[in-house]
Amino acid sequence: MSHADHADAEGLDRHQTEVAPGEEFAEEDIGKGIRGYLIGLALAALLTVCSFAIVHAKFVWAPAVPVAVIVFAIAQMGVHLVFFLHITTGPDNINNVMALAFGVLFVVLLIGGSVWIMSNMNSNMMPAMPPSSSPQSSQPSMPMIQPMRH
């Protein structure tokens, strides 16, 4: 196991080489740290401006606008993760990347699952909404268990 060997070779020094998250910049020079934040800020601002601009722009094909906004939003998250939360692919960053991955997984499971479950249950409900123009929905009651797809 490479991780084990690595830990063994360093022996007792391992504790000194492992820095807590957020402390990374304490040892490096401050200027480099600030530059990173400034680049991040500029990119984040640029992406924000872009998404506002594209909504108002006349020359973009309308159905493409939401797609573009979503793309900008994802890029925005990436910028935050890299420049502000210091997620990298380096070996000392595995914990942070794993934490992020688990967080994303659980949020997707919870929100995705809830939306799916709740909409599925909704479509199995008896029609309680005010009658629409369609003749079917004015029918009296519907058996509860029988699925009714809109």
Binding site: M1, H3, S114, M121, N124
Partner: protein, 669 residues
Amino acid sequence: MLGKLTLSAIPLDQPVPLVAGAVVALIVLGVIAWVVIAGHLPYLWREWITSVDHKRIGAMYCILALVMLIRGFSDAILMRSQHAVAYKAGGYLPPEHYDQIFSAHGVIMIFFGAMPFMIGLMNFAVPLQLGVRDVAFPTLNSVSFWLTASGALLVNVSLVVGEFARTGWWPAPPLSEVTYSPGVGVDYYLWAIQISGVGTLLSGVNLVTTILKMRAPGMSYLRMPMFCWTALASNLLIIAAFPILTATLAMLILDRYLGFHFFTDSHGGNSMMFMNLFWAWGHPEVYILALPAYGVFSEVISTFSGKPLFAYRSMVMATMAIFILSFMVWLHHFFTMGPGGDVNGVFAITSMIIAVPTGVKIFDWLFTMYGGRVRLTTAMLWSLGFMVTFVVGGATGVLLAIPPADFVLHNSMFLVAHFHNVMVSAVLFGAFAGYTYWFPKAFGFRLDEWWGKAAFWFGITGFVIVFGCFYWLGLLGMTRRMQHYDVADWRPWILISAFGVVVMFVGLVCQVVQLVVSIRRRDSLRDVTGDPWDGRSLEWATASPPPVFNFAALPEVHGEEAYWAIKSRAREQMRLREEPAYEPIEMPLNSPTGFICAFFSTLIGFAMIWYIWWLAAAGFLGAFVTFVVFAWRDTVEYEIPASEVAKVNRANRSTRLEALHGAGQRRAA
């Protein structure tokens, strides 16, 4: 001035809770009076209440859990005896009181019995097994514990001041909304669980950080003892799941206090959303409880079989698989409440898949025992009892996970039997196994084996009788949460299960007697070397009880089973490992922050329950000031001089050396 609180909040017309409450209050006051008069208060304050030592906090968690388990068990006795007499009659507990009892029983057992026990064991053992000196955030740890205690206190106050929820252990709307539950019962539930839930979340953060960032030199992830792995998975689940519970209950609080409509059935609310969110926490929660117990069994079975854990890596994989899968099955708790066949089908399959990694674990434990020299100590008996009974509980779980079967069995006594079958045999047996296993480490002497075995045999026999009957009652069509009944077919099984509770009660008495007897005979049960069971992981490498700093020098780890390697070398060479170069050790100072924070949280909770707004504001201010004072403290740590460290360590080395030579001579003879 006092909000809704008046003298009529004390249920003078209901003798049962009043007498029970009065007895408990008298006992508590008596103990406090004895502590004060005998002059133990300064000691308690200095060494326990303000302690930030993970071992002390772990022990306090377990003591809280033991007391609450007894409280929860007394609720169980009330319910079983009510059923024994309520055949074609009203019994002695009126419905509104019976409903409070089953609600309090579930809440207390899960939140204040099982949870603190597991968290206590993890708190105590994980840093020792990792070979480090404390958890990552020691004062936060104390805050977590006292917040949990604060929640437990609120639930118990509801016994004599006001009432408790009548909704069951999950307060499902619309029943739990103000329209149908106008009293303070649901509010007691909400604030108690919110306060203790924050404590649990903080302790999850603490233990995850400890495991990820603070292992002894050389202890890579795949060299950690199994218990640390299950603790990691369990605490990751706490971090992922508890915020869901807190947010859901916060929404219910908004509904009840400020007229919101998250879960009402009018004005666009949706009560099924509560079900959905609650169980999205609820199913992970059962694995938050079960996983550490699996860890305890792994340690106990490997130690008492004298063999390394079989297929350690498959056990790690199974643990992490359960960790992820447990977040993908929550809908099985409401198959019958409206989802269509496709949704039910998907969640049925994910639920059944959990049985696979669980089966892997069972086989790993069996193969660990295979070919080993199994010692049938009390801890090992609990583990064996778990393996036999848990398989049945898992199988009925898979059965319930088949939606057509669940449409027949949901909310019947069969369901009640299923979850008690798994919760009791995994969590409770695991708690007792861990308690007997680590007790000598915590207090320096072993627990009496004879009484321990008696407790085991009565406990498991009673448990099988009670819940065997429940399975059958479920198949006979009895639903859960009935206050009385008039079906003649059920009567014999209900009476037999009442008898089973008596047997369990004998087991409980044995458990208490065991503790008393062991304390009195502690000199003959003394653990002098620090390794009473011939253990394999690092907690056995230090003295019992361990010094505050746990290890004089952090042990260096060169493979799996760190301590077994050290011990084997010592046995071959007939001498201990080199004495380390002693250095002074910095340890965190004790702090009353946790206790004071919890005091103010209790005030906040009580004030919110009774609508005493000024008191809530005052409590909040007090808690904030406590936090500020703590944040501005000047000294954080104190230093233990190297000479002191050397003295403590040499004392332990000399007893170990003696034991080593004694064993060597026995082998030679």
